[in-house]
């Protein structure tokens, strides 16, 4: 089942959490169901069970994942789960004050998930806190395109009619 989109939140100052709220609102506005799961509450087994995931995370310090994401990030690296049933998107928040590690929180999760067989849908959103566009606005706009890609991916690859139907409403 891929009807429910789980937004996985890694946050430090709260902005990613706020963006996750906006994403959930937009997902529901699109007639889909979603939920928010803070990373410290997420378990590797839940993730490897498959489904559609949206990783929404900020970046901390010199390119680290936020504190509440550290345990999950480490557990994924250690357990190396098979994530071939996972499709995901990435909303990465960063600050160009750190150009060398910009949006690394999101990029690190992207790399990790894809290395274990998860399939990324669409392009990663990389939002600069210095850009004039608010991150929640950027995320909502990005989500529209992402949902399109998700619908397309449901149509071609994985297959079941139910799944495609659910995603495309």
């Amino acid at each position: 089942m891929t009807g429910k989109i789980t937004i996985l939140v890694g946050t430090m100052s709260g902005t990613a959490e706020m963006v996750a709220d906006a994403l959930l609102e937009a997902i529901e506005d699109a007639g889909l169901t979603g939920r928010i799961l803070r990373m410290e509450k997420a378990r590797v087994e839940t993730l490897s069970a498959g489904g559609v995931w949206l990783v929404c995370t900020s970046t901390y310090g010199t390119g680290e994942v936020p504190d509440n994401a550290k345990a999950l990030y480490a557990a994924l690296g250690e357990q190396r789960p098979d994530l071939s049933k996972v499709r995901y998107g990435v909303v990465a928040l960063g600050d160009s004050i750190y150009p060398n590690t910009f949006c690394f929180g999101g990029k690190r999760f992207d790399e990790l998930l894809s290395s274990f067989g998860a399939r990324r849908i669409g392009e990663r959103l990389e939002n600069d806190s210095r850009s004039p566009t608010y991150p929640d606005d950027a995320a909502r706009e990005w989500l529209e395109r992402w949902l399109e890609s998700l619908r397309e991916s449901s149509g071609d690859a994985s297959g079941t009619a139910t799944e495609g139907a659910e995603i495309s409403r």
């Binding site: 100052s13 709260g14 902005t15 706020m18 010199t62 929640d136």
Partner: protein
């Protein structure tokens, strides 16, 4: 830009100094950049000092200015030395080793120093403070289960140290002279929330109390109480390091006075960070702010002014503090508040406090409701937006819905 030939000198290798170096180069400045600092380190982030550094032995610093960067960008660095005087006429600095450094544009980012605590009968050398990596490492080595730690000062630093010491299994007491924690916050509701948090964590909080004296180990409180302690930590505020500027006869008022562009009373000298008292047009007064955000913003503005560029973005003052499981964020610097709305979630205990002057939001405090801070900062910044006051008290209504300027239409 016709500024490549001149030399920029930055005194103070803290956050503001380090950030200014980066901005100068990012803006394409090709001239000589010299950074002079008293600590033996390149500029590093200070927020982790009271958290990771105390909780995890051997924690590593997070650079504001990486060693690689300094090398690649050809930054001249003089660490472990201080500037003795500024000859404004000749535009030359004299260092403590008697060497001279000439400048065309000078940035003073000399920061602040912790206020020293004096306890009659207690050896001053045994009192711990928290400002530098060295302070944090010295304190970390002393934190062990069942150590009795007395912390003087219930401000951000004191409470962060208290939470970290508690996490290391210490028996912690916080002694605050005011009748509430975080007295400078100006919010009785927030102070009460923070007090409850620390009491729940098993920290012994004494309000309205001062240290009266000591026999070297036991501390005597002003209320007559006596306590045994293994470790004494003081977090009673900082004083701006204005001596150098003062000797150079720059305008000073508990901080180096600057305009909104970071310019001091000398057109070739700029100031940024904790040491400044800067004119804030949004607030309509001069403020001295001690925060990570302020160091960043002022450094960016001052560095741009040094190059003759307009200032960067303006933002309302914002600070955060992590005290164990409590995340506290404060935005705005209201001089006056005539209405407060509290938004409290009975389920998880999280709280947001909205501070108003008339209909206008002038400040906000989140206590484990960090996600609402981004929107509060937005409303404080963007005068065309506002909150629907009637919706704020109900924590079950998403705060985005209470915003009057729909973000999507921006």
């Amino acid at each position: 830009m016709e500024v490549d030939g001149f030399s920029a000198v930055i005194v103070g290798a803290g956050h503001a100094g380090g950030r200014a170096v980066k901005v100068l180069r990012e803006e394409g400045f090709k001239g000589a950049v010299t950074l002079i600092g008293a600590e033996p380190h390149l500029p590093y982030e200070r927020p982790p000092l009271s958290k990771e550094f105390l909780q995890v032995p051997g924690a590593r610093q997070c650079w504001v200015l990486e060693p690689d960067y300094v090398y690649q960008q050809d930054i001249r660095v003089r660490l472990g030395c201080s500037v003795v005087s500024i000859d404004r006429g000749r535009q030359v600095l004299t260092l403590d080793d008697a060497s001279e450094v000439a400048y065309d544009r000078l940035l003073l980012a000399t920061g602040a120093s912790v206020r020293q605590l004096s306890v009659p009968g207690y050896p001053a050398a045994h009192i711990h403070y928290l400002r530098t990596i060295a302070d944090a490492q010295a304190l970390e080595r002393r934190l062990a289960p069942e150590q009795r730690v007395a912390i003087i000062g219930g401000g951000f630093i004191g409470l962060e140290v208290a939470a970290s010491a508690r996490a290391r299994g210490c028996e912690v007491m916080v002694i605050e002279a005011a009748d509430r924690l975080l007295p400078r916050l100006g919010s009785a509701e927030a102070s009460e929330h923070v007090l409850c948090h620390h009491i729940r964590c098993g920290i012994d909080v004494r309000l309205g109390a001062r240290l009266a004296g000591s026999d070297g180990r036991r501390l005597r409180l002003s209320d007559g109480g006596v306590l045994d302690t293994d470790l004494l930590v003081a977090g009673i505020g900082v004083s701006p390091n204005i001596e150098l500027a003062s000797r150079a006869h720059l305008a000073i008022d508990d901080g180096i006075i600057t305009d909104e562009y970071g310019r001091t009373s000398d057109p070739n000298i700029f100031a940024a960070g904790d040491v400044t008292r800067q004119w804030n047009p949004a607030l309509g007064r001069r403020v001295r702010l001690e925060s990570w955000q302020n160091a960043n913003l002022q450094a960016e503005t001052a560095a741009r002014s040094m190059l003759g560029l307009p200032p960067g973005r303006g933002e309302p003052p914002w600070v955060w503090s992590d005290q164990g499981s409590l995340n506290l964020q404060v935005a705005g610097a209201p001089a006056e508040i005539d209405r407060t709305i509290v938004r409290h979630d009975d389920v998880d205990g999280s709280t947001t406090i909205f501070q108003f002057l008339g209909e206008r939001l002038v400040g906000g405090i989140t206590l484990n409701r960090a996600k609402e801070m981004a929107l509060i900062r937005r409303v404080l910044t963007d005068l065309t937006s506002s909150f629907d006051l009637s919706m704020l008290a109900d924590a079950s209504i998403p705060l985005r819905r209470a915003m009057r300027a729909a973000p999507a239409t921006r």
